[in-house]
Symmetry: C2
Subunit: 428 residues, 2 copies
């Protein structure tokens, strides 16, 4: 596929080629009020400014909804629905094309370019949507298998329900933060000796490499979103780090699942990549040995996306290691299937709800999406560039996810980064 | 204790004596805009109207915050903090006292009485607070023991962590509804034969009698609410029915806990009873054989409330049965202890968050807070007034909770009702 050529300089290695056009919430020193922005190459198009300067003057579909671009979150834009997202994305692409149909809007408007195109470095990102409810699934089957061996034993690592439904649990919406927010090492109960807990800072702090999906469609309580409508319920994707306190998790999770081990912080990347931008990279996920029940049968077999994910660690002293490389196709169920399952009993979704995929791990060495797996539960250390070792995360460590689809030739569709640095536990 | 005597007629059997003064959100046919109301006997004081007619003219503490009484939820009122709630409650009590200090406000103002005191029957209730996150705990130890026998076996019914921490899971905030909202029987996956699920309407639909607490204090991510501050974090209590689909729950809950079996609807009673009103009924909860870790040690040993709870069932044909009578003291941890535990790792609370106690059951026959226990997992039927039998809930059944403290002599402090009627499953 030939890349879309622009009159505006877009570095070929940028995650934000014209093939992408993701959406986020930005502020700047000059204008601290949060508003919508679209990254293009090394810059961000300030959509509030663009709108105020008649940027959408030539677009009758969008005009009645222009107010959404000046809001504090993406929720109202998301609520307009996928057909409108599609129109907005294509229009912005067109405005930046070498042969744009609308040269007067920006290409020939040097004054607006100067004002509305802010260098990415000068932009502060905020949480892209207000999240009503957050659900974390567990559909990375390799991860479930590897953890099952550690927790359930090698005879029976996968529970009987696993292949029949996307296993998941309700998460804590208030603890979801945007990339760059520091993460404080949590206190909690950990087992000092068998069945004998103490209160202590977490000693086995971990990351989890996941994809997150934001919901753009609401349903009434008692009325499911059926599988054929569920694709239109996904606004777009982000990368998600479900920071996990393994020792707290191990002690607290019987019988109702993880709780404080997961609610001290979950980081998401700032730019929501629309499903339209990902569709060229649609691919099959993991095969399922079980026949899926009718309410989750999806016509489209290519219901995952071949996003190349990478996890890098940098220690306080600056030593580094790439600790995971994996494709986002290593999942057993798709986000539309998760929506269909989540709502089959009538659970109400609201626009802005966040669904996490669960940790994504491959089968090869170096493809595990968390330390619990790659260090085999804290047994095999990972060596950083200068010789430091890691079983779990130490204070001052920075974990950075990146994710990208496609090639520089065709124009990258990337997620940028999702990062967080570990602060030491409070002294209590 | 002598009752507080009022110039306004308050039937002695009313849950809403002057000793109570709970808060809720109301609307009427005449004025459909939701606003705050306080039930007094058989009437509700419309706080928006009362405020607009200088009801708080004599109260300098409240005056700068009067706008909160016209809002759509109790969140802003709750956020003012317990000392302000206390002043407002005492002021409203005083306005209704026989020997009120402020006769001109309402006692001698027949016009305002007529306008601002609406018959309870004419009022529509709405969800009292906007709920950011909802957590359901499991600290009814008798319930945990009885369910443990069914699920874990009689040798080891209680998990090793149970007495050390308030076990809980994140619930679905979007599915919390006010009393009176019908509950649709959920569809879902149930095990037809061992490890072989089908999609089906739930066949084992249950209620769970719980108390709910609304949070009135926010904390920053990473900074716990310590136990000594946690009492001030509880705005007040409601009754809560955590409707549960036992067959869906049984199949889905390994290893991450209940999910769709709990997110199709949770009902709360409409009036939030302030902690101040409950304090005369403070009592010790269940004894704990384990030493509680320091971060949960509460100075006040009487950290539960002797609320007399009752569950009534009415079938579509009008047959009835009282299926549970139990005291809310049958809990192992208090709500302040739940707050301290929930935030010890830094999880952020927001004003309006809801905490459920878990099902409250006693040890005697007739004191089980759900059918799973009282029918021994669907083995021993319960007989209604006209001979109908129940193992679980049938379509058209109405479940009604009531809860009350004190005596008619002293003035009742009650919760009114929390009810819901089961609608048949959709045909999918
Ligand atoms: Ca996870
Ligand atoms: Ca419950
Ligand atoms: Mg998390
Ligand atoms: Mg529920
Ligand atoms: Ni609009």
């Amino acid at each position: 596929m030939a890349p879309l050529r622009s009159w505006f300089p877009i570095p070929p290695a940028s995650h934000f080629s014209l093939a992408n056009i993701p959406f986020g919430i930005i502020s700047t020193t000059a204008n601290p009020k949060p508003r919508l922005g679209v990254p293009i190459g090394d810059h961000v198009l300030d959509l509030a400014l663009f709108t105020a300067n008649n940027g959408f003057a030539r677009q009758s579909t969008i005009q009645p909804h222009q107010h959404v671009f000046s809001e504090l979150t993406l929720n109202s834009f998301a609520a307009l629905g996928r057909p409108v997202h599609s129109v907005v994305r294509k229009y912005i692409q067109d405005v930046f094309l070498e042969n744009t149909s609308y040269p007067e809007i920006l290409k020939d408007n040097a004054a607006l370019q100067k004002e509305a195109l802010v260098p990415l470095k000068e932009v502060t990102n905020h949480l892209p949507l207000e999240i009503g409810d957050y659900t974390d699934f567990f559909v990375g089957r390799n991860h479930a298998y590897n953890c099952g061996i550690l927790f359930r034993g090698p005879e029976n690592p996968i529970a009987p329900n696993y292949d029949h439904l996307p296993v998941g649990y309700h998460g804590r919406a208030s603890s979801v933060v945007v990339s760059g927010t520091p993460i404080r090492r949590p206190f909690g109960q950990i087992e000092a000796e068998k069945n004998n807990p103490i209160q202590s800072p977490c000693l086995r702090l971990d990351f989890e490499m996941e994809m997150g999906a934001f919901v753009c469609k609401a349903n009434k309580m008692g009325e499911p979103i059926l599988i054929d409508e569920a694709e239109d319920a996904i606004f777009g994707l982000v990368m998600m780090n479900d920071w996990s306190a393994r020792d707290i998790q191990f002690w607290e999770s019987t019988p109702l699942g993880p709780f404080n081990s997961k609610n001290f912080g979950t980081s998401v990347s700032p730019w929501v990549v629309l499903i339209d931008a990902l569709e060229p990279f649609a691919a099959k996920g993991l095969p399922n040995a079980q026949q899926t029940l009718p309410y989750m049968q999806q016509k489209n077999e290519k219901n995952q996306y071949d996003i190349k994910l990478k996890v890098d660690l940098t220690s306080q002293s600056g030593q580094t290691a790439t600790v995971c490389k994996v494709s986002a196709t290593e999942l057993l169920f798709s986000f539309p299937q998760m929506v269909a399952h989540h709502t089959i009993g009538g659970c109400p979704m609201r626009v802005g709800d966040l669904l996490g995929s669960g940790t994504i791990s491959g089968n090869e060495p170096g493809s595990c999406g968390c330390f619990l797996e790659s260090t085999q539960g804290g047994k095999v250390g990972i060596t950083l560039s200068g010789g430091e070792k890691r079983m779990f995360l130490e204070d001052g460590d920075t974990v950075t996810f990146s994710g990208v689809c496609g090639t520089e030739d065709g124009g990258l569709v990337g997620f940028g980064e999702c990062s967080g640095t570990i602060l030491p536990a409070l002294k209590l």
